[in-house]
């Protein structure tokens, strides 16, 4: 806030200074005023002056009940003075220095500087703040007594525990607060050209994440309340890397090190249970405790080498080995002191993964007509941790359960082979055919443990493409792909152990047939006018899937045109249509009794009753429109830029049951979800002199949304009855309409 006031004061002072700058100077009468650096008679340079400062005043008015937080989302649009842009550049024959700052003093400010001493050193520094504004009127009953500890008043918990207080009434007394988070990103890069063929580079990056994000915790399945709360964030990721690269006409070799270190200053989050003031061995804990995101370290060494070979060929090899560790102290199984927390297998996580990646590529263009490429890529994630055994576990801090299992050590190996060949029968046309085999092995490399319901899968993909590029008036691209994925080593018992249907397949690894086409065309019959159109059609079928995602289709089309009748006028319009559909299936039933395999053929089990099957057909339709008109000095000394953008989406979820179903009377369909995001802008600037411009900006933003689950609810305690099962913060999807006015003053030199 203080910074913003300073910015406002600075903006006002600069405005005054800018006005003074237009007054006649008492200096050298021979000094030419308003002479452009380029010889343009209008006094306005055709080549923009590179240095500038842009400042002014901005205000936004909102329609009633507008969600101001969502309007701002990743921006800081508060009213006040602005220094929206400051840019300085110096270019000599020896070096170039560039500095740029945006939105100074606001939460979304950024600064960047770059220095290039030609042939010697290149260095850049960036500071970029990215806010994330969730809600300006979130409400909560929680307060924080220390970092990571969120408590409710004991009196409230007592009242709720004893049922003398109603949660529906209590939530209305919550304090209102802004829910927002922010990332501060700093990055420094340096490249030193040691010799003609040797470069050294280093980078350092740091990213802080602070504020809070919506999160939730639950205390049981029935009779308990899942509670949404503002989870505090205090995280930092620091990265450092160095590399040495040697290269010349023959090829290159590069050695590098990269380190990434994540630190979370909140190792756990303790959140009070609204319904309990004291721990109970049967009714749950007074508070629950979530593990915070664990600290982790990644150290990576990599080598890259490439050699140029005869016949315009090049072979490239790359190997990278990473070690990822997480040795955060483990929390006890439960925060419930009324339960005897089971003994931990070890006190720290002591988790380690080794990631080995390699990539070999050979490209050749022996003649002007032929190009081919072969690539082998392997990525292995090997979880090398010692097994963590859980004899007795705890559910919801409410009950001790016998698990007698190890935490799964998930690992996998992905191997991909690509081969592509392209012929160029005509200079600008290339026809390509390609093949890819992608194999996934779901066994953790070091211990062979398979964490999925299949051991492995192989996907074969064939593709053809045609590309006409490089012709000024026509670009035409099209690619068709067909792929087939087949899994092996299906483990039925794994599914049954989880209580899943034998016919379930998880779509990310299930057998799949996939077809897709993408095409785009640009036609520019004359230099002033061009049209473009694109189409994307895709279809995925999961042939072995009875339950889960069975298929999905997508259709995406766009058309657009650009028109520039004269060099002072340009306009463009683009319309896009997207349609995605997906069909998924399930069965509502009771679980099989123990020894499940034996009951799979038992018709008396609801688990085996096909009349309890249902499907959900989901669809997403989105219309996108972008249009712009720019008038650059059509009116003397005046620039006017206008634009309009629309994204209008509707999502539907339609349930269907079997004709002879015994499940429900009939599904009550959910209302469609709609999202309509609009923005219109007008940006006008008048150049008083070559150096001074004044401008006005107007933004119209409108968001219409209707979401049955994330839209406003009748109460923060849901259902709003005597026994709510969810306490929210009111972080809803709500509409907004906003009119932003901006007076700007620009000084260029």
């Amino acid at each position: 806030m203080r910074t913003r006031h300073l910015v406002m004061a600075a903006a006002l002072l600069l405005t005054a200074a800018g006005v003074r700058a237009q007054e006649p100077s008492g200096g050298d009468p021979n000094e030419q005023k308003d002479v452009p650096k380029t010889a343009v008679s209008t006094g306005i340079p055709d080549i923009p002056l590179v240095n500038q400062i842009d400042f002014g005043l901005r205000t936004t008015t909102f329609g009633s009940d507008s969600d101001q937080a969502r309007f701002q989302r990743y921006r800081d649009m508060r009213d006040g003075g602005t220094i929206d842009l400051m840019k300085f550049s110096k270019d000599t024959s020896e070096y170039r220095f560039r500095f740029e700052a945006n939105h100074i003093g606001y939460r979304d400010q950024s600064f960047s500087a770059a220095y290039n001493n030609y042939g010697n050193v290149k260095a850049t520094f960036d500071w970029n703040q990215v806010p994330l504004f969730y809600s300006q009127d979130t409400q909560t009953l929680y307060s924080s007594t220390s970092p990571g500890v969120l408590v409710l008043p004991d009196s409230l918990q007592t009242g709720l525990q004893n049922k003398t207080t109603s949660l529906v009434n209590a939530v209305t007394t919550g304090s209102v607060f802004d829910l927002q988070a922010k990332r501060n990103n700093a990055a420094f890069n340096l490249i030193y050209n040691a010799t003609q063929s040797v470069d050294f580079s280093v980078f350092f990056r740091n990213s802080d994440r602070t504020g809070a994000q919506p999160y939730a915790i639950s205390y049981g399945i029935s009779g308990a309340v899942a509670s949404e709360f503002a989870a505090p964030l205090d995280q930092r990721t620091t990265e450092f890397g160095a590399s040495m690269q040697w290269s010349n006409d023959r090829g290159l070799a590069k050695l590098g090190y990269d380190g990434s270190f994540f630190r979370n200053n909140l190792p756990s989050l303790s959140v009070d249970n609204p319904l309990r003031v004291s721990d109970s061995p049967t009714a749950g804990p007074a508070f629950g405790r979530l593990a915070g995101a664990p600290n982790n370290n990644v150290n990576t060494g990599s080598a890259l080498a490439a050699i140029n070979l005869p016949a315009h060929s090049r072979a490239t090899g790359y190997l990278s080995i990473s070690n990822i560790t997480n040795n955060t102290p483990l929390l006890p199984f439960t925060s419930n002191t009324a339960l005897v927390s089971p003994t931990l297998d070890r006190t720290n996580a002591d988790l380690t993964a080794r990631v080995t990646s390699m990539n070999y590529n050979f490209t050749s263009r022996p003649t002007n007509y032929l190009w081919f490429n072969a690539r082998y890529r392997q990525h292995e994630y090997d979880n090398r941790s010692n097994p963590f055994h859980v004899g007795n576990g705890v559910n919801y801090d409410t009950s001790i359960v016998a698990l007698n299992e190890n935490a799964e050590l998930l690992g996998f190996t992905k191997r991909t082979f690509d081969a592509d060949a392209s012929v160029t029968p005509f200079k600008f046309v290339a026809f390509r055919a390609g093949y890819t085999r992608e194999g996934m092995d779901f066994a953790n490399p070091s211990n062979g443990e398979v964490g999925r319901m299949i051991d492995s899968s192989v996907e074969d993909t064939g593709r053809v493409s045609a590309d006409l590029t490089g012709v000024g008036w026509l670009t035409l691209r099209g690619v068709y792909e067909h792929s087939k994925r087949v899994g092996s080593g299906f483990d039925l018992q794994t599914l049954l152990d989880l209580g899943e249907q034998p016919g379930l397949r998880q779509f990310d690894i299930a057998d799949r047939d996939k077809d897709s086409f993408r095409g785009i065309i640009f036609v520019q019959p004359v230099s002033q006018f061009s049209v473009n159109a694109s189409a994307g059609i895709g279809k995925e079928d999961y042939p072995g899937t009875t339950f889960g995602l069975r298929n999905n289709d997508n259709h995406v089309y766009s058309v657009g045109a650009d028109f520039e009748p004269i060099d002072k006028v340009s306009m463009g319009v683009n319309y896009g249509y997207e349609k995605y559909t997906a069909l998924q299936a399930s069965r509502t039933s009771n679980p099989l009794p123990a020894n499940t395999l034996a009951y799979l053929a038992d018709p008396t089990q609801t688990f085996n009753d096909p009349r309890r099957d249902w499907t959900d057909n989901s669809g997403d339709t989105v219309h996108t429109l972008d249009a712009s008109i720019d008038l650059i000095k059509l009116i003397p000394k005046t620039e006017v830029k206008t634009s309009y953008s629309l994204s209008n989406g509707e999502s539907t979820y339609v349930y269907a049951v079997q004709p002879n179903q015994t499940l429900v009377v009939a599904p009550t369909q959910l209302a469609p979800i709609t999202n309509k995001l609009q923005r219109g802008t007008v940006d006008a600037r008048y150049f008083l002199t070559q150096h001074v411009a004044i401008g006005v900006v107007y933004w119209y933003d409108k968001y219409d949304v209707a979401d049955f689950a994330l839209g406003p609810q009748p109460s923060l305690a849901l259902p709003a009855t005597a026994s709510p099962a969810l306490m929210t913060m009111g972080n809803y999807y709500r509409p907004y309409s906003a009119n932003t006015f901006w007076g700007r003053f620009t000084y260029l030199w």
């Binding site: 392997q378 998930l410 994204s647 959910l670």
Partner: protein, 331 residues
């Protein structure tokens, strides 16, 4: 889960083989002779060096920059404003002692003598791969080291599809459009439309660009991702809190973040590819609540598995957790 004990020796062998191959390529590149059939720029530079006298005068087919500028003034000015025109850097065309233009366009004497365009290398008349071969003569390392064989290379994209040497609009990278994102949107219409949805990365707000995640010149990662060696490594380079390894992990998340999220944008909360709980029900239909029809009846009763964040109201640690009691991602 099943257990399979194999592969460990094979893995070491493969890794060792990979290391040997990588080193062999590097050693060969370092010690070998210049290969024949190199892109012509290397040869051009060598020729240029051999045919340039100490005063910069040309002797065999080269005319020098001043001659070029007589007819091509705007192109000459544009080039000299760019990094190509900085002679202080010995790697630039401008450092070629008066042969800035001819470093790329080849010797110009025949063109000057005849006035014919066909007597000099005109990039607009070259096939995309011929254009690229010229640029790659110098731009073959750093971010460009993986161009050959990249998706853009495979699709006949030329350097001049995106970049302009003489007339560029961007402040960085000499692009034909003002920003990198605008350049990408020219062809990647589908992704451009997704970015405009209500759930999106902060590209519209100018806090990111396509190049924040992607390397358009190729990379060792999939999908031309800039960082890491897998899609997840690219995502977790910023979202490091989801990197793990965790005591309890969500297998779909361990393998591919894009199974649930669409990084280019969606109209669903947290850029999910479908709304929860429907998304979760695409893989989890086990008895009781994962297999419930979450229809209007459930909405009326405000089921905490449908309203708000759906399944994540309880399974909030879905990306993985270090809690020993986190086997269902509740803690």
């Amino acid at each position: 889960m099943s257990r399979r004990n194999d592969g460990s020796p094979a893995r070491w062998l493969v890794t060792a083989f990979a290391l040997v191959c990588t080193m062999a390529i590097g050693v060969a590149a370092a010690s070998g002779h210049a290969a024949t059939g190199q892109p012509n720029g290397a040869a051009a530079r060598a020729n240029a060096a051999s045919t340039t006298s100490s005063t910069g005068a040309q002797t065999t087919g080269y005319v020098g920059d001043d001659t070029c500028a007589n007819c091509h003034q705007s192109q000459s000015e544009g080039m000299h404003k760019s990094l190509h025109g900085k002679s202080q850097d010995s790697r630039t065309p401008a450092a070629k002692n008066g042969q800035t233009c001819e470093s790329c366009h080849g010797p110009g004497q025949a063109h000057v003598d005849s006035g014919e365009k066909s007597k000099i290398k005109v990039f607009a008349a070259l096939s995309p791969r011929d254009v690229n071969a010229t640029c790659l003569t110098c731009h073959s390392k750093g971010a460009h080291a993986e161009w050959q064989g990249s998706m853009h290379d495979a699709r006949n994209v030329s350097c001049t599809s995106c970049h302009s040497v003489h007339s560029f609009k961007s402040e960085k990278a000499q692009l034909k459009t003002v920003s990198a994102t605008q350049t990408c949107e020219t062809c990647h219409k589908q992704e451009a439309m997704k970015v405009k949805k209500s759930g999106h990365m902060p590209l519209r707000e100018g806090k990111m660009e396509c190049t924040s995640c992607h390397s358009p010149h190729g990379s060792t990662n999939v999908r031309m991702l800039k960082t890491g060696n897998s899609l997840n490594e690219a995502c977790t380079s910023c979202h490091a809190e989801k990197r793990g390894p965790f005591l309890w992990e969500h297998s779909a998340g361990r393998e591919n973040c894009a199974s649930c999220h669409d990084p280019h944008g969606s109209n669903n909360d947290r850029m999910l590819v479908a709304k929860a709980p429907m998304l979760c029900q695409r893989c989890h239909i086990s008895s009781r609540h994962p297999a419930t029809i979450y229809d209007g009846v459930q909405l009326t009763s405000a089921s905490n598995r449908l309203v708000g964040r759906g399944c994540v109201n309880c399974h909030s640690q879905i990306h993985g957790t270090n809690s020993p009691a986190g086997n269902f991602f509740l803690r």
